[in-house]
């Protein structure tokens, strides 16, 4: 029996043989007031799960597009407290699963146990800590799980089998499989390392595997949807936001991606 929205989502998608469409946006980019309507547009466009990024001054895992989004959000006065306010506002209008996506330091400063409780109360369903390795994870995973939140970890092309096993142990909800070495950002080509990495990860877990990093076109999203249980699109949305795209344009781009993902999984269903 699924205990929260993330698990419920993947179970219902599994039943209908569809891949999840996951979007990342930085909370507060371009302003805290704007984020809830961007999220509503994404949901109308067919996004299943939202990664809500907490802006950080030194985002070492991110490429230039998300770095710039983080800067805009910080300049607009976005704090972790405000991110939770934004989550609460989204939750008033929507049941979309929300994954809080953050670097460790803002969470440490806020207070980890307090953050877990407050995030749950604000309607957050899970937490991904970008720079928390599984070796250091135990003391952090405990309060998050105790608050009833999922803990999502990253698997990377460089992850050894021993590491993948630990990543599977510490993860709940789903595992975020990084489709290529490097930082976040759009790429023209998909990495050939994705399929082997998905297979290697699958040996250690039954959790859904969502793939991301570099997916920016409907063609890429379709290709990934054939391999993974979910497709994450981040920088492409953040780039749209940086171009002052209105809600209608964001929704239209999301819908295009959604169609590509569903088209791919439907075609796969017929040939299966």
């Amino acid at each position: 029996m699924p205990t929260n929205r993330i698990q419920f989502l993947f179970e219902s998608l599994r039943a209908s043989r569809r891949a999840a469409f996951i979007a990342y946006v930085t909370a507060g980019d371009p302003s805290p007031a704007r984020t809830p309507s961007i999220v509503a547009a994404l949901e109308r466009g067919g996004v299943d799960l939202l990664e809500l990024g907490v802006p950080f001054s030194d985002p070492v895992a991110d490429g230039p597009v998300i770095q710039a989004g983080s800067d805009r959000a910080l300049k607009a006065g976005t704090t972790l407290v405000k991110v939770l306010d934004i989550a609460r506002e989204i939750r008033e209008a929507s049941q979309i699963p929300l994954l809080l996506f953050t670097y460790l330091n803002p969470a440490l400063r806020y207070g980890f146990e307090k953050l877990a409780r407050d995030a749950k109360a604000a309607g957050i369903d899970g937490v991904l800590l970008t720079d928390l390795s599984v070796e250091e994870a135990a003391p952090y995973v405990k309060p998050i799980r105790e608050a009833g939140l999922d803990t999502v970890f990253l698997a990377a092309p460089t992850s050894t089998p021993a590491r993948l096993k630990l990543i599977a142990q510490y993860s709940s909800g789903f595992i975020y499989v990084v489709s290529r070495a490097g930082v976040t950002g759009e790429r023209d080509d998909l990495s050939a390392s994705l399929q082997p990495l998905l297979e290697a990860t699958r040996k250690f877990t039954n959790l859904p595997l969502a793939a991301g990093f570099g997916i920016s076109t409907p063609e890429q999203a379709a290709a990934v949807a054939m391999m993974a249980d979910g497709v994450v699109v981040g920088s492409a949305f953040v780039r749209l936001i940086s171009q002052d795209a209105d809600d209608a344009r964001i929704e239209a781009f999301a819908r295009e991606m959604r169609h590509a993902i569903d088209g791919a999984t439907a075609a796969q269903g017929k040939t299966a």
């Binding site: 030194d58 070492v60 460790l104 330091n105 440490l108 390795s133 970890f153 990253l154 990377a156």
Partner: protein, 409 residues
């Protein structure tokens, strides 16, 4: 026993560890393993020692600063002359060690960050020596204030990449180097320049600089017959300081004093004094004291010295601080500049602005410590800072400038 730090996963008490995106974890494990094997390989140590003595110029002198001691009228001061090493600072110790390691690991492309440019120059130097491709990331603000070192790196065949993000200083250069590493991890070795970052860097960098303290300890015992009372070193990331301190950690009577950049004032953003103005946090892979705001965003820093201008500090220093085995204090921009002038005019030694911070703290304490023996680590020489000295001492830059008398202490 503190000397046995870190534990097997790179923790110094509650500090240190490995906080990086998953893609960098396996490369760090590979690095740790390669270092462990190299460190216990006599052939590796022999090659490193040969380079340290015949290429870099070790051992460095331990110089008794007679005129300065007399002028101060209190403690007797010795200076450990790391500034006399090839490339002008202690940084070469670590670069030679890590370049040998990179070569053993079969990596042909070296990346590094630099603040003051001393680590960048040392990295560029060893890459030229070993025929390795070299890319150095440097904040644009630091490129402006350390133009000479930018040119030296280019002269040595290194590509210097300016970083325009954030405060455009050392912190942003490290972030950009980490992004390069995560993208090019198979071909690339990240030659980190201070006792910072994720395990095993803080331990490995310390080990490559331990020679500073080991030489100092043996030499002072030979010359004076006893250990010093107080040892001073500046602390940015903390590599010269940990290299100097480490051999003395077990000598409880020896006071170890790390000197941070007090900058312009005690206001957040105007200094780089992590221990008085920061709180534990995670940046660039390690848990240590960190200058940050109430929301956990890393705070901007300032120091006249680019090499001390960083928001975090090596995790072993955080542990020595909490254990009260070392004391950490701060010196302002103007105190450091004044101390540099004093040293130049009493001993004929122009220190790097980083090292001038350590000198300044020793000068403050010397007159109240008659009969004591002080050692100051002169981690680098001041040539690279000539532009900044000129900016702050415009009276010396006039055609008729002529000041025959030493600045009074």
């Amino acid at each position: 026993m503190i000397a046995s730090q870190p534990d097997s996963t790179g923790h110094f008490g509650p500090y240190g560890g490995r906080f990086v995106p998953e893609a960098l974890m396996a490369p760090l494990e590979e690095l740790e393993q390669a270092y462990k094997i190299a460190a216990s390989d006599p052939a590796f140590q022999a090659e490193l020692n040969d380079l340290l003595s015949n290429y870099a110029g070790r051992p460095t002198p331990l110089y008794f600063a007679k005129r300065l001691s007399e002028a101060l009228g209190g403690a007797r001061l010795y200076l450990k002359r790391e500034d006399l090493l090839h490339t002008g600072a202690h940084k070469i110790n670590n670069c030679l060690g890590q370049a040998l390691l990179a070569r053993r690991m079969g990596k042909k492309r070296i990346i590094a960050e630099t603040g003051a440019g001393q680590h960048g120059v040392a990295t560029a130097t060893v890459c030229a020596l070993f025929g390795l491709e070299c890319i150095v990331y440097m904040g644009e603000e630091d490129m402006r204030r350390q133009r000479l070192n930018v040119f030296r790196m280019r002269l040595l065949g290194t590509k210097v990449v300016g970083v325009a993000a954030g405060s455009r200083t050392l912190k942003d250069a490290i972030s950009e180097a980490m992004r390069d590493w995560v993208t090019n991890v198979h071909s690339t070795y990240y030659l980190l320049g201070s006792a910072l970052g994720a395990h095993p860097y803080p331990t490995m960098v310390r080990d490559f600089h331990r020679c500073i303290g080991l030489e100092t300890r043996a030499e002072i015992l030979k010359r004076e017959g006893h250990l010093p009372h107080q040892i001073f070193a500046c602390v940015g990331g903390g590599s010269n300081a940990i290299g100097m301190f480490h051999a003395f950690i077990g000598d409880e009577a020896v006071q170890l004093i790390g000197v941070e950049a007090g900058g312009r004032s005690g206001v957040l953003g105007e200094h780089a004094a992590r221990f008085s103005g920061g709180a534990p946090g995670v940046l660039h892979g390690t848990h240590s004291y960190l200058l940050q705001d109430d929301d956990g965003q890393v705070a901007p820093t300032h120091s006249v010295s680019a090499g001390l201008d960083y928001a975090s500090v090596g995790p072993e220093h955080a542990w020595l601080h909490d254990r009260r085995r070392a004391e950490y204090t701060k010196v302002s921009d103007s105190e450091a500049l004044a101390a540099a002038l004093t040293l130049a005019r009493t001993e004929g030694i122009i220190p790097a602005l980083e090292s001038a911070h350590a000198v300044a703290e020793a000068l403050k304490r010397a007159s109240a410590a008659p009969g004591q023996l002080f050692i100051v680590n002169i981690s680098g020489r001041g040539d690279k800072d000539t532009d900044i000295y000129r900016e702050h001492l415009p009276e010396l830059d006039q055609p008729d400038a002529n000041q025959p008398n030493p600045i009074p202490v």
